[in-house]
């Protein structure tokens, strides 16, 4: 008598198909062993938005009755395995307003496992992941996070590699043989089977001790209850903005204090304040109102509200004035403008090293043009 629960934490829309492939295959594999299972998305995540962290679950039980006990829940209370398909979510996820920042391992059971797809070192990931009071295991699947879109799926085998690794780290869920059968049943080719088997062989566990990891306290809010809500469901509007950081000049909007959106970001802009020509385009074209206008007419990305879409980089007319950098490189949301003012030379070097590093690993955020995914897969195969 046992129930095994798995959650997949993924970037909304970008990894929706990937997450679905994983949770469905788990249930198909469980059926091969005569077990009962169900795969579902967290109700509150729908409608999904590009990049906003979302969850899908697979629950496997020995009999139908046991399975039913675990259904009709908004979100499982705890899971045996958490699968995180984008390493930048190791810093925590904020799905909705009043939700706060949920640690990536919040639902992972004591002794459970967190699987992460990443090219980072295991220890670098542990620095990002919030500490827990109970021990758990970390298993890193070496891979660039797989991103595609709603209609065209980039089939880079991330789905089956995770399934292979999952069979290894959680043998009580299903065996590798059942997993392989489930992969074949879906009409996927032998290459995908081999990818799953190779991931099974390579998957390792790194035990994480209690107290090990990021000691930041994730921000939380008190959800207003029905007695504290205002009559007629009035929601107070945001206050008018004012000068930059309390100064006379510039402009800084007041922002929604209970939904910050920065955990949506898997890349962040870094701004070269010295080459900026003050053309206003990054500020004007930002859908998230994330640029504060400094008194001297520069634009400082407010990194609590930036969701990392990259439009600012795309519209900036100056080469490498706004550059998107992998979010994994950073550990805080501090102001770049202030850092530059305090130490212009140091800021310049810091920026140059980040831009140099970025050129080595390509991180894509979906569809660029017809055939683009094939080119990326071919290029990855050559490595």
């Amino acid at each position: 008598m046992s129930t095994v629960a798995v959650e997949v934490v993924y970037r909304g829309i970008f990894q929706k198909t990937l997450a679905r492939n994983i949770v469905r295959s788990i249930v198909f594999a469980a059926r091969k062993e005569g077990k009962y299972g169900t795969a579902f998305g967290r109700y509150g995540d729908s409608p999904e938005r590009n990049g906003i962290p979302a969850k899908q679950f697979a629950i496997v039980a020995d009999d139908a009755e046991e399975l039913e006990e675990n259904l009709a829940v908004y979100e499982a209370q705890e899971v045996d395995v958490t699968i995180n398909v984008d390493d930048t979510m190791c810093k925590g996820i904020e799905s909705w307003a009043w939700y706060g920042l949920q640690p990536i391992n919040a639902l992972t059971k004591p002794g459970g496992t967190l699987i992460v797809t990443s090219r980072q070192e295991t220890d670098a990931l542990i620095e990002d992941i919030h500490r827990k009071d109970e021990p758990y295991n970390l298993s890193v699947l070496t891979s660039v996070p797989s991103f595609s879109g709603l209609w065209v799926y980039k089939d880079d085998h991330t789905d089956v590699r995770i399934l292979g690794a999952l069979a290894k780290v959680c043998p009580q869920l299903v065996s590798l043989e059942s997993m392989v059968e489930a992969i074949q049943d879906q009409g996927w080719d032998d290459l995908k089977v081999r990818s799953a088997e190779r991931a099974y062989e390579r998957a390792g566990l790194r035990p994480v001790e209690p107290g090990e990891g990021n000691d930041e306290t994730p921000f939380t809010f008190d959800l207003p209850g029905w007695t504290t809500m205002e009559e007629g469901l009035v929601i107070r509007g945001i206050e008018q903005g004012g000068g930059f950081r309390g100064a006379e000049g510039g402009y800084q909007p007041v922002r929604n204090s209970v939904f910050k959106k920065y955990s949506t970001r898997s890349m962040r802009p870094i701004v070269n304040f010295e080459t900026c020509i003050k053309c206003t385009l990054c500020w004007l074209q930002c859908p998230d109102t994330c640029f504060d206008v400094t008194p001297d007419g520069l634009y400082d990305a407010n990194l609590e509200s930036c969701c990392g879409c990259g439009v600012c980089e795309a519209v900036c007319p100056v080469p490498e004035c706004v550059t998107m950098i992998n979010e994994a490189e950073f550990n805080d949301n501090a102001s770049q403008y202030e850092a530059w003012q305090q130490n212009p030379e140091g800021y310049k070097q810091w920026m140059a090293s980040l831009i140099e590093g970025e050129k080595k690993v390509e991180r894509t955020h979906g569809f660029h043009h017809v055939g683009g995914y094939d080119e990326q897969l071919a290029a990855a195969g050559e490595d």
Binding site: G12, I13, P47, E48, R49, N50, G51, I52, W96, A97, W98, G149, L150, W151, V152, L223, P224, M229, I235, G237, I238, E239, Q240, G241, Y251, P253, V254, R255, N256, V258, F259, K260, K261, T264, C279, T280, L281, L284, Q285, P287, D288, T289, V293, N302, S305, C307, G308, C309, G310, V311, E313, A314, V315, T364, H365, G366, F367, H368, H369, V370
Partner: protein, 332 residues
């Protein structure tokens, strides 16, 4: 009739107001052009504005459980009722001011709707609103070419051939959305001769859009603006290309930017250059092949699409706008 605000035309992008009326902290997609449309719309209109929003992404994503990014007063209205809600709000304000129950001051009324709410469901209500000459209001339709909030179903504004939850390409039938996009703004302009202002725009051309909102709010009476919003989720592209795809929609001649003010048609931006023959239209494939929703189109489909766009510029009475010909022998 209530009084109108003074909102002078903005000369140059550097003079766009700094003040925000729609700020950070909304649960839209990365690179959401509709959120940008909201932001620029309220930037142009200023703080003394009431916004009414019908159901759609810009309702659901912006009022995430008991929180909001709106600085100005905002109220939700039902999916098809942007027109009636705008009229009601403007009429209510006028009546309260007439009776002395509130200060007589100019307040902008803007109702927005998506293409589902405006081009499909709310069309009748918008039509009625545009007939009520005594009320000052603006109805803004942000068009992301699908019911994007509920995960991309076909609307009357979805383009031919686009992949969607309702029109997935199959092995037997490749093209499942066989309808051509509705020609909404010209329909409303032609159908409501007393409406003084109808325009089309795109937030990628931020200054042009800002000025169109200001003209709509200051000309008097009910007005309508139709804005095209590239949607990274439903169109399936890397969010950083939102701005570029908006520009491509105009540069390929697929989306025509213009304003019809007091019966006079003026093309704006690249559309004007294309209309004057100063600039060539870019091939439509440059736009289509950048989007996952058109990834299944074949060479033949691309040519068909291009042919329809060419026809709209070469055969229509008013290129890109009026799709029929004058009576034979009359000349145009």
């Amino acid at each position: 009739m209530t009084t109108l605000q003074e909102l002078p035309q903005v000369r140059g992008v550097k003079n766009i107001p700094l003040q925000e009326g729609f700020t950070s902290g909304h649960r839209t997609c990365q690179g959401c052009e509709s959120a940008l449309t909201m932001r620029l719309m309220i930037k142009a209109a200023g703080p003394r504005t009431i916004v009414v929003g019908s159901t759609g992404c810009m309702y659901v994503a912006n009022t995430t459980y008991y929180s909001t990014p709106w600085v100005v007063p905002w109220m939700h209205t039902q999916l098809g009722s942007s027109g009636s809600a705008a009229t009601g709000t403007a009429a209510g304000l006028a009546s309260m001011m007439r009776k002395g129950k509130m200060k007589d001051e100019p307040i902008n009324v803007i109702a927005f709707c998506g293409d589902g709410g405006g081009v499909d469901m709310g069309l009748a209500g918008i039509s009625a609103a545009l007939q009520h000459d005594e009320y000052n209001l603006l109805i803004l339709c942000y068009d992301n070419e699908s019911y994007a909030n509920t995960d991309i179903q076909v609307s009357g504004s979805s383009p031919w051939g686009a992949n969607s939850t309702f029109s997935p390409p199959g092995k037997v039938h490749r093209i499942m959305n066989r309808r051509w996009k509705k020609n909404t703004a010209p329909m409303l302009a032609a159908g409501h001769p007393s409406c003084r202002y109808v325009a089309t725009a795109c937030a990628s051309y931020g200054l042009d859009f800002t000025n169109k909102v200001r003209r709509a709010l200051t000309i008097g009476g009910p007005t309508f603006i139709h804005v095209i919003d590239p949607c990274p989720k439903g169109w399936d592209y890397d969010p950083k290309y939102s701005h570029e795809l908006g520009m491509l929609a105009v540069e390929t001649g697929l989306w025509v930017q213009y304003e019809i003010a007091d019966g006079e048609l003026i093309l704006s931006g690249p559309s004007r250059a294309i209309g004057n023959g100063v600039r060539h239209r870019k091939p439509v494939r440059e736009y289509l092949q950048r989007q996952g929703r058109f990834a299944h189109l074949t060479e033949e489909d691309l040519e068909f699409f291009q042919g329809r766009v060419d026809d709209s510029w070469e055969k229509w009475w008013i290129p890109g706008i009026v799709p029929f010909s004058p009576p034979a022998g009359d000349g145009a």
